[in-house]
């Protein structure tokens, strides 16, 4: 028992020393969370603004100019070009200079007057001729996010346009109260999720190379003639990365709080508990890969093969509920999916880890099975 601990400790310190000397890897441990946090926090935003668009104004009236200004004021689009005819505008759309074209028809003044939302066209809706929309958008529908954003302009109120208080401003059917992220800031959802993504990436990547590297460099032949046991090699190799994982979590949550005001509502104890569990699960997944791959190229390929679905299906970017049932089952198998629920629960909703027992059990089970499979697959022979 004492000897066993000593051997685990020997591998542990060896691994740590090698890591310390490997500047590149060491730098990546810090740079990956930093860069990702910046990218997701600043660059990637699901609230789309300032979409470049063009306008074909066939009416050239005072009202059409006010209409353009009113739409600009929403900041959703930015009018960058004026076109004489639809043909040239479509060419610009094709060249991606603009993402949409607003066509204002010659009779726009009449249409606004008859439009129900402007409030004095009643009773016009019965008349097909006069209840038409006031203008038309031609949209580059290739990017669904941009298309959806422009679609949201469909029901823009026209009250400002005609500066009359609308008579029939409808009361909403539902009142909606937003919990946990009332201001709807993307960062609040992204930052905790990012912990899951980064830990998945680095933990699986590091350990998947761990055993393969020793085999490739010939160290394994020496190691397996010594009295060390498989499980001792496995444990000694993953423990240093647990510390690295914790360092990364601290970086993400710390900067998330400083730069993006993402609060940590839950207890730190819960946070530590679920993070350690998830790190352990990811590490054993990497170890299993490491015992299957024959060389480092293979281990990298297998890592990516596991990484992509595990990140895409985790619910980080696309809500779990929106996925087809089959994808949901696959997602359930990956530790990242469970961690995503856990971390958002603890960080944003002030849950204790004891409130999320199913996900906890799954991660625990995954770790134990992973470690057992890795130790069994790793035979202390060459063939």
């Amino acid at each position: 028992m004492m000897l066993s601990l000593l051997r685990i400790q020997a591998i542990f310190f060896k691994e740590l020393t090698q890591l310390k000397r490997d500047r590149m890897t060491f730098g990546m441990v810090i740079m990956i969370p930093l860069v990702q946090l910046m990218l997701f926090g600043y660059a990637i935003n699901t609230n789309i603004r300032h979409i470049p668009v063009g306008v074909v104004d066939q009416s050239q009236s005072a009202l059409s100019r006010v209409l353009v200004q009113t739409i600009s004021a929403t900041q959703v689009v930015k009018f960058e070009q004026q076109f004489q005819d639809i043909k040239t505008a479509e060419d610009a759309l094709k060249r991606s200079e603009i993402r949409a074209i607003l066509i204002i028809p010659p009779d726009v003044t009449k249409r606004v007057a008859r439009h129900p939302s402007s409030g004095f066209g009643l009773p016009a809706s019965s008349d097909e001729e006069t209840s038409r929309p006031i203008a038309q958008w031609l949209v580059d529908g290739a990017d669904t996010a941009i298309a959806a954003t422009i679609k949201s302009l469909r029901n823009m109120p026209l009250s400002e346009l005609v500066s009359v208080k609308p008579a029939n401003r409808s009361t909403p059917t539902f009142e909606v109260t937003l919990y946990y992220n009332p201001e709807q800031r993307t960062a609040v959802n992204i930052v905790p999720g990012l912990i899951g993504i980064i830990l998945t990436m680095t933990m699986i990547m590091f350990t998947s190379a761990a055993i393969v590297r020793e085999r490739e460099q010939g160290n394994m032949e020496m190691l397996i003639t010594t009295p060390i046991r498989s499980i001792e090699i496995m444990l000694g190799k993953i423990i240093p990365y647990i510390f690295i994982g914790v360092v990364q979590v601290v970086i993400i949550l710390g900067l998330g709080y400083l730069l993006f005001d993402v609060p940590v509502n839950g207890s730190l104890l819960s946070l530590l508990a679920i993070t350690l569990l998830f790190i352990a699960a990811s590490l054993t997944l990497g170890l299993v890969i490491s015992t299957i791959a024959k060389n480092q190229l293979q281990s990298t390929q297998m890592t990516i093969f596991v990484l992509l679905p595990s990140i895409l299906l985790s619910g980080f970017m696309f809500p779990y509920e929106g996925m087809p049932l089959a994808a949901q089952y696959i997602a359930e198998a990956f530790p990242a999916t469970h961690f995503m629920r856990l971390i958002r629960g603890v960080v944003l909703k002030d849950l204790e880890f004891t409130d999320l027992t199913f996900d906890i059990y799954w991660l625990g089970l995954f770790t134990i099975i992973g470690l057992a499979v890795a130790s069994m697959r790793f035979k202390k022979t060459l063939g």
Partner: protein, 312 residues
């Protein structure tokens, strides 16, 4: 009472075979290695030396055959054997990005040697193998010979009863090689049994006993003297002009095993079915007896005679 552990043999293997698909890397090998002796595997590249050693250390499961090492049956009792053997792999297998001392400390801990005991043993090894002033150098930046000494230090750190060395001196100059062998004899005097593989004749000649391997088959074994005395050929040296033509002529005769030119001399191996080799040469070359000598065979001659039949 386990009789076999009292046995005079460190290694005994019978009918040992290892097949990789169709390739018979080791074919029906029998060997016995006595305790406190240096036993050599001599053979060309790819003859199966490494494969044989891997089976004898329990790293590779034989296709068939029986192995007993230090009284333990392999591969079943491989784990029990680990503390008793040291293995220096053909390829350097310590960590290039650790220093000499860190490597030795790592190995010590793996074998459960700690504290002052560890310090004492490492200091001892550093001075035996002349690595004192290299302690803080990275293993990866050392010369071939230094790395070899470090590997030997690591393999002997836990004072194993039996040491396996796979081509230990392939990157070492003759001077250092001699020193390396001095150290092996020291270990041997202290009671360690050694199995060493090589493709150098001078190295093989230093072994107490050796086996000549070719294509996974043992062609001959015994002490170097036995092998040389029992050789199935005569060795003739000829000093004469136009040796190249003479060589070609002689090689075409069925009684001649091989001929090789050494500067101004031609060394010819003739089958011992020929009773008068000097007369035989004179008859086939118009040379007088002054130019032809019968000489003592070397280990290389033994090697060529044993392995020559199946190759050019």
């Amino acid at each position: 009472m386990n009789n076999s552990s009292e046995s005079e043999y460190a290694i005994q293997a019978k009918g040992l075979s290892k097949h990789f698909g169709d390739l018979k890397a080791i074919d029906n090998l029998d060997i016995s290695v006595e305790k406190s002796r240096i036993y050599g595997f001599l053979g060309p590249n790819g003859c199966g030396k490494t494969t044989a050693i891997r089976m004898l250390t329990g790293l590779l499961t034989p296709t068939s055959g029986e192995i007993e090492v230090l009284g333990l049956r392999l591969p079943q009792e491989a784990e029990k054997l680990r503390l008793k053997i040291g293995y220096m792999t053909q390829r350097f297998s310590l960590y290039n990005d650790l220093t000499v001392k860190e490597n030795l400390q790592f190995i010590s801990k793996i074998y459960g040697i700690t504290g002052t005991q560890q310090k004492k043993r490492i200091d001892e090894l550093l001075s035996i193998y002349g690595l004192n002033h290299k302690q803080t150098q990275f293993a990866g930046s050392m010369s071939g010979g230094q790395r070899q000494r470090l590997a030997l230090a690591a393999a002997t750190l836990h004072k194993p009863e039996l040491l396996f060395l796979d081509e230990p001196t392939s990157a070492v100059d003759p001077e250092n090689r001699r020193e390396f062998w001095e150290q092996l004899f020291d270990l041997c005097d202290q009671g360690t049994s050694v199995l060493v593989s090589t493709h150098y004749m001078d190295e093989a000649e230093r072994c107490h006993k050796l086996a000549i391997l070719e294509d996974g088959v043992k062609r001959a074994d015994g002490t170097p003297e036995e092998l040389m005395n029992n050789m199935a050929a005569h060795v003739i040296e000829i000093s004469a002009p136009e040796l190249r033509q003479l060589k070609q002529h002689l090689m075409s005769l069925p009684e001649v095993i091989t001929g090789s030119q050494l500067g101004a001399r031609l060394r010819v191996l003739i089958h011992n079915t020929v009773t008068d080799p000097i007369g035989f040469i004179m008859q086939h070359s118009n040379l007088t007896a002054d130019f032809v000598d019968l000489v003592r065979p070397s280990l290389e001659d033994v090697f060529v005679t044993c392995t020559g039949n199946s190759r050019q």
